[in-house]
């Protein structure tokens, strides 16, 4: 193996979803030599690319769970670092809305749960107070619970910022690197990656998302099985943005948190998700019947949605297991840390999970020597919450007119330390082609700019 590095990495992280990116950042900043391995051609190509983009408080998480601890910590850490990374935070608050007397009867328990989870400002509102806050909601609502600290964020830029900070502080990122085999010999793992030389690392962290149980089998018979849960979403055009101001949550059932109506950081209104179990791990299809059902559910809650066009629909897969809680543990003898079963709160929980992984590493594998003066990169702002390039004097040509994306932003996203590796990655770095025309006006221009960088756009 002539390409094999002389010294193994301290840690190899498998999977560049939001959790893998946050763990990578955390371990690099803790002074470890890390490599982030991703099977796809870009970060967040799996579970993390499609979610509801909310920063949760954990008010409704099951008490005593690791999920609650990581969500609470993750929310605080995000609030602490987002400005330095130029990441947005839209503190819009959430309202759990009861539409029936049966749901109304459940609200006091939701408030009590929130208080015991350490979120004291959660309070019940009567129907009049809910209507006063949200005049766009259907008038048959019965009451609600206000959760002031729930927030909307940008689910694409956050993992990009985490991976970028890891990389700029000395971490390595490898794409097209699916880990198929591994052997632990002494204190060193040798990992067999597709399309890459063998790679050695002292500790492996499994952040493989929907493939978590398959990767886990490299270390041990997996004690959990991933059963992907699909969530479909409808994105409404920008005139719908003002129809609600808070995140509108339903009263949850045993099985699901239900259909949410929320603003996005990009100025749209989102309705979703569905919750459907499936075996397929790699593809999440949207389905006409489910989309029509979401539209009907959205219109029941927000009647004026009926007059606003749908921009697009998407579907995401969440790595659910047979267990409700996160599956995070260190296997000291196997020099392995399992980070799996991050069902639906991974975006919020990721920074808290990274902190927890650091503690596990320190406990089992060695002391940490955090970087004294790490680099803090900023990521381009994609959201309406902060100034955008099209507003600036000297801006370049606007390429995507629906989402107001400039040529400069597209060119920048195709270059730099973590360039877009797929057209989806380019869309998630810039918002180009994601607006109401879905590329009718801009696809040719985008392809002209991207053709030398991204493969297979031209047939």
């Amino acid at each position: 193996m002539p390409n094999q590095p002389a010294a193994p990495f301290d840690v190899a992280i498998i999977g560049a979803g939001v959790v893998g990116c946050a763990v990578f950042r955390g371990l690099v900043l803790a002074g470890l030599r890390c490599v982030l391995l991703e099977r796809d051609a870009d970060i967040i190509s799996g579970a993390s690319k499609a979610n509801s983009a909310l920063l949760h408080t954990g008010f409704d998480a099951a008490p005593g769970t690791l999920e609650l601890a990581c969500v609470r910590a993750g929310q605080r850490l995000y609030e602490a670092i987002h400005e330095r990374l130029n990441l947005p935070l839209l503190p819009v608050g959430a309202l759990v809305v009861a539409w029936t007397d049966e749901q109304l009867a459940k609200l006091p328990a939701i408030v009590a749960q929130a208080h015991s989870n350490g979120i004291p400002d959660v309070a019940q509102l009567d129907a009049a107070a809910v209507r006063a806050r949200e005049p766009g909601l259907a008038s048959h609502l019965k009451g609600g619970v206000l959760v002031p600290a729930e927030a909307v964020i940008d689910s694409w830029s956050a993992p990009l910022a985490y991976a970028l900070q890891g990389k700029l502080n000395g971490g390595e990122v490898r794409f097209g690197a699916e880990v198929t085999l591994g052997t632990l010999s002494g204190n060193v793992w040798t990992l067999d990656c597709t399309a890459a030389p063998l790679l050695r690392a002292g500790v492996v962290v499994n952040c493989a998302g929907n493939y978590g149980d398959i990767v886990e089998a490299i270390a041990r018979p997996s004690p959990f099985a991933i059963k992907p849960r699909k969530g479909q979403f409808l994105v409404y055009d920008k005139p719908a943005y003002g129809l609600v101001s808070s995140i509108i949550l339903p009263v949850p059932t045993e099985r699901t948190k239900g259909v949410v109506v929320t603003r996005t950081a990009y100025g749209n209104l989102l309705v979703g998700p569905t919750a459907e179990d499936q075996d397929e791990r790699g593809q999440a299809k949207v389905e006409t019947a489910a989309m029509e059902a979401l539209a009907a559910a959205g219109e029941r809650m927000v009647p004026a949605l009926a007059g606003v066009p749908v921009t697009t629909a998407y579907a995401g897969l969440r790595p659910a297991t047979q267990f409700k809680d996160y599956q995070i543990e260190a296997l000291p003898e196997r020099r392995w840390i399992t980070v799996s079963g991050i069902r639906s709160t991974g975006l919020t929980g990721s920074l808290g999970i990274a902190q927890h992984v650091l503690a596990l590493y320190e406990q089992h594998f060695g002391a940490l020597a955090p970087l004294n003066d790490p680099v803090w990169p900023t990521v381009p702002n994609l959201t309406e919450a902060l100034p955008r390039p099209f507003m600036q004097p000297g801006r370049s040509e606007i390429v995507c007119h629906c989402e107001m994306v400039t040529r400069g932003e597209i060119v920048a996203a195709l270059a730099g330390p973590l360039p877009a590796g797929t057209i989806g990655g380019l869309r998630r770095r810039t918002r180009c082609m994601m607006g109401r025309c879905q590329g009718f006006y801009c696809t040719r221009r985008v392809v002209e700019l991207a053709a030398g960088h991204i493969e297979n756009l031209v047939a």
Binding site: V286, F390, P393, E397, F440, N456, L457
Partner: protein, 396 residues
Amino acid sequence: MRSVTIIGAGPAGLTAARALAEAGLRDVLVLERNPVAGGLPRFCEHLGWGLQDLHRFWDGPRYAAELVRRAAGAEIRTDVTALALRGDGGVDISSHAGTEAIGSRIVLLTAGIREMPRGPRLVSGTRPWGVTTTGAFQEMVQAGLPPCRRPVIIGSELVAFSALLTARQAGLRPVAMLEAGPRITARRPADAAARYAFRIPVLTRTRLLEIKGAERVQSVVIERDGLRRTIACDGVIFTGRFVPEAVLARDAGLAIDPGTGGPAVDNFFRCSNPMVFAAGNVLRPVEHSGIAAREGMNAAAAILRSLRGALPAAPALPVSVAGALRYVYPQRVVPDGRPIRLFGRASRRHAGRLRLLIDGETVYERAISVLPERRMSALLRPEQLAGRGAVTFVLD
């Protein structure tokens, strides 16, 4: 302050600009968000443009260039995006200089139209590369960057045959054209041309059920006569189902007609705010460029009257549709002693009577047999409107 700002330098906007300049206005500003003015004809290389308005038979790029040349009396600023309509006739814009407000007495919205992409059609399946619209497809083919070589074409309006023509001229091989209805939407000869000249199967009564493929389109699942079948292909071109690009009007709180998808106007092209006029394809699903240009011309005449304070404001009588009509425009009429033409479009195949009702009383009717999407019009005579209330355009 300028007298008129026009948003969109396509056939309607450029024709209005020319008319306003020729009438003596020296301060007309046309805003175009693209680097080049001319509008969508710039990307349609087949012949047939300019016939109605300029009495020429040109290709799209030539026609667009001529419209720009003839509008030289107005200032055309390209690469400028209108961000918002102000209530007072002004416009907030983004240009290379940043954002600014442009003051004007009247704004004319001629922002045109686009095809309905996959998103709002709620089609099942994965979301691979290679799913596009005719407009985007033709631009990419013109640039030598085709996104697919063996696409399935969805829909059978005239524009679907335009997509087919573009594909064949570029040596691409569409595998089929799918139409959910019992016959094609465009007029019949197009059908025969596709089948016999290009040997492309045109499948009517056929629905697209699902798009398959991971990175690229690999196939589509279709349903015909209750039977499902998979067709291998590498792209899906969604054609037609045109949508007015009316978001500026919507955001400004102007009345939007759910039937047309565009701003509701009166017979002088005035929106619900009388400082804002609209003309061309932003008013309703697509008409050809000659009609858009003629509307630009007529809107310019109304704007000139408005600037002189000579446009009647009241009474505005509401116009509504009933029966097998999808929409009617203008959506309000203000009598001013001249005949007013109402335009409608059939929502479905129908044989019956086209009638004009004023306050419930039939003032005009004729027998008619139409196919889906066919246009029809009727004339309101001034004496019919005197002292009257509501107008209804009916196909029943």
